[in-house]
Symmetry: D2
Subunit: 256 residues, 4 copies
Amino acid sequence: MALIRMDHLAENLKVNLPLYIIVPEPGAMRGIPVRERKVLYLLHGLSDDASAWSRFSTIEILARRYGLVVVMPSVGRSFYIDQPNGQAYFTYLTQELPRYLEDVFGIQPGREKTLIAGLSMGGYGAFKAALLRPERYFAAASFSGVLSMDIWAAHASDQRQTEFELLFGDLNRLPGSEHDPSVWLERAAQNKSVLPRLFAACGRQDDLLPTNLQFKSRCQSLGVALDYHEEDGRHDWPFWDRQIQRFLGMVLEPEE
Amino acid sequence: MALIRMDHLAENLKVNLPLYIIVPEPGAMRGIPVRERKVLYLLHGLSDDASAWSRFSTIEILARRYGLVVVMPSVGRSFYIDQPNGQAYFTYLTQELPRYLEDVFGIQPGREKTLIAGLSMGGYGAFKAALLRPERYFAAASFSGVLSMDIWAAHASDQRQTEFELLFGDLNRLPGSEHDPSVWLERAAQNKSVLPRLFAACGRQDDLLPTNLQFKSRCQSLGVALDYHEEDGRHDWPFWDRQIQRFLGMVLEPEE
Amino acid sequence: MALIRMDHLAENLKVNLPLYIIVPEPGAMRGIPVRERKVLYLLHGLSDDASAWSRFSTIEILARRYGLVVVMPSVGRSFYIDQPNGQAYFTYLTQELPRYLEDVFGIQPGREKTLIAGLSMGGYGAFKAALLRPERYFAAASFSGVLSMDIWAAHASDQRQTEFELLFGDLNRLPGSEHDPSVWLERAAQNKSVLPRLFAACGRQDDLLPTNLQFKSRCQSLGVALDYHEEDGRHDWPFWDRQIQRFLGMVLEPEE
Amino acid sequence: MALIRMDHLAENLKVNLPLYIIVPEPGAMRGIPVRERKVLYLLHGLSDDASAWSRFSTIEILARRYGLVVVMPSVGRSFYIDQPNGQAYFTYLTQELPRYLEDVFGIQPGREKTLIAGLSMGGYGAFKAALLRPERYFAAASFSGVLSMDIWAAHASDQRQTEFELLFGDLNRLPGSEHDPSVWLERAAQNKSVLPRLFAACGRQDDLLPTNLQFKSRCQSLGVALDYHEEDGRHDWPFWDRQIQRFLGMVLEPEE
């Protein structure tokens, strides 16, 4: 495949940011231009940026296997939300970026051609997009995702408390707020016919396991289908590389 | 504008190469998607690659002024020809790359939307494409271009002789061969109605000035229109940065 | 010169960011390794990142002329301050980055080998570093810099008010605070013997001109030497490209 | 780790090329600066360039595990030899590049800190460097390497014949020439006390398996120690990703 590293100034972010995109190379185009291909939005974690998936996983090999266009944005430590300071990352992810891909590549994939996935903070972002904009994605995945807000209250003494309060507001009010995956889930559960296929994976040695179990349990009580996978593993790239393979293998057919 | 750095494996080159492309950023799209824009192929010189124009000139500012998509390929020291070793750079430039741009960006510009320009070896390549494929480009420019083959015979003792013989064959037979700009010119002159607008510039302190004067004289004797510009200047980036501005200013209208 | 694009995770920023560095290429090394060269920290403006100076100016040509290593960090919209959310950009710029350059390149330039400059928000950052850490830099430049805090109070109704309040705190209390260039200047004026050479330039058609005039006036009343330059010009790259040339021409000798 | 993408003009190649280098990030420096670290030269295959190992393997994770600096040059389709056209890739790899790394990073590793490895054409290059410059490397690896010249004669009708003749000369005279790994091996065998540790791996479904078996047999008859590994596998990245892990695990101790 061909790897695109792009520097662009997003309007909703008001800042220049790298954007990475994988497209087929000339010899792998097989008569299917980029604008007709399936698109995977692939989201990074808290301390990473657009370069992470390319550098630390073998996503470009997977992209070739499935003939995918893979779009990897940079969002800093924003949790993919519209920040109080005016940098609107969720709007960027769900509105500006798709429109920009259409303007630049002619990509305008229907729901049946759009997937979204992410790791850790990116799992949070992927499920937020999938549950609040279910008409957009046919499948979504969270790997080691932050899938419950109780974790913040539990970590109130954490050094990151101030950072997250500036981002989310009062952390004690997070559960039940618009930032709470449970709330997204409840909203999505009201219209199960348009739910994307959901996949979540977490390692047994990952501190975020409880948030995943909580999310899984919440899905069960709401009757929302979730492909949940647990295995020995930590919060690291070997785990995520295995899970992106697992997820794509479940929802896509190899092209080659 | 947004700068794309792309790594791709070209079929005709059989090797992975960088490709740089400038497209508008979200806030500068003005409702005109990439696929509807004018496209400038911008070619590098002998020891450069795709990164050169971006690093050493202010092309990205010019691209914004004119709303241009700028495509900057890498061709090594190939003189943009189909090399004897099978790396077919001219085919890449004039066939594979346009088709790839269509496959990736949906770009399929008509003649009235396509320009080509280059510096030094890139001036040679730009004029070769423009004169042998005149139906493709509405304007073409050579800055400090290698525009006559007599120069090689004159430099027969040069240390680069072996390199160029491996590339072009017997240097004494170059004049009058398919690699000779005069030959392209004669061919193009047979059908003046489809000639692109031609612009050539060379600095008075540039060793390549004689090749430019020779080309200019050949144009005159064949009745081919050439915008020729000469000014004090050397074979360097400040000269090329001025000339690309001059050329675009002549053939395009500013967008902003 | 050679252009380095580096992706690295800064400890004080807790996020992966691009860092651009210009070093000589093999043929331009002239026996002076990177670790013995002068270093210019070159700072971007509000909506840019590390890629801006390379893409929009001809800095790489200037770097060659003066044999400079040029270090271009990314700081988002942080104003180069230690943000309340824990992302400590000033600490990154003045402590982590120099130490990292030493660890990676062996660069440990003395004061007589270190310069700092920036545009707009980067002018603010460059002067903050130069005035609060005067023992580090022998020269500093602000191009179209934000050089007075009164501007914020004046723009209280501006849409950016919330963003800047989250960054700086109460904007009405900015004048006289640690974020006020006048305060840095007063502190620096107490020890004039270690002041870096200061250069400021602003275009006559730039909205930030009043902040520059105010800073200039403040310098005069404090007896701090300032090379101040004003000319017709706007808040744009052609102006900054001219000023970086002017600044380097004043304080450095060409190598070639 | 931090990933450096560098554009530089090599003197021996006379062309601008990408060079990728992995160094530790600030938080992984552990008090050991780049100039004191072990260095792995990691070479790409026939149709790749410097970006390949970073994009298609998880080398950056391995670099972190072992605290390695990884240097990944671009050499086109040169087979890492000094080409007849004057582009001297072997000189670049073994002389210019090490000197440049010293000039830029202060890296001047002794033999006990230098490794070299490569895949396919890169295995050929790595073993050529290791066997002809054995005083430079303490270990060398070939993954799916081209390790015998008989293969070319066997493929005389191949479409690549012309390309390789222009590169190597008469293919029938390759066996026994300076381009023949057997010849390097014989030369190296004359001074076994300074031989690097050699590792070769090839997949059982790889067309290059015979060249590896031939090399292995030649080592045995010459009494040269070779760690040879064979397993089910093809000429692809999953195989190379496994083998680079195997090789580094054999010759290095993890840092973390």
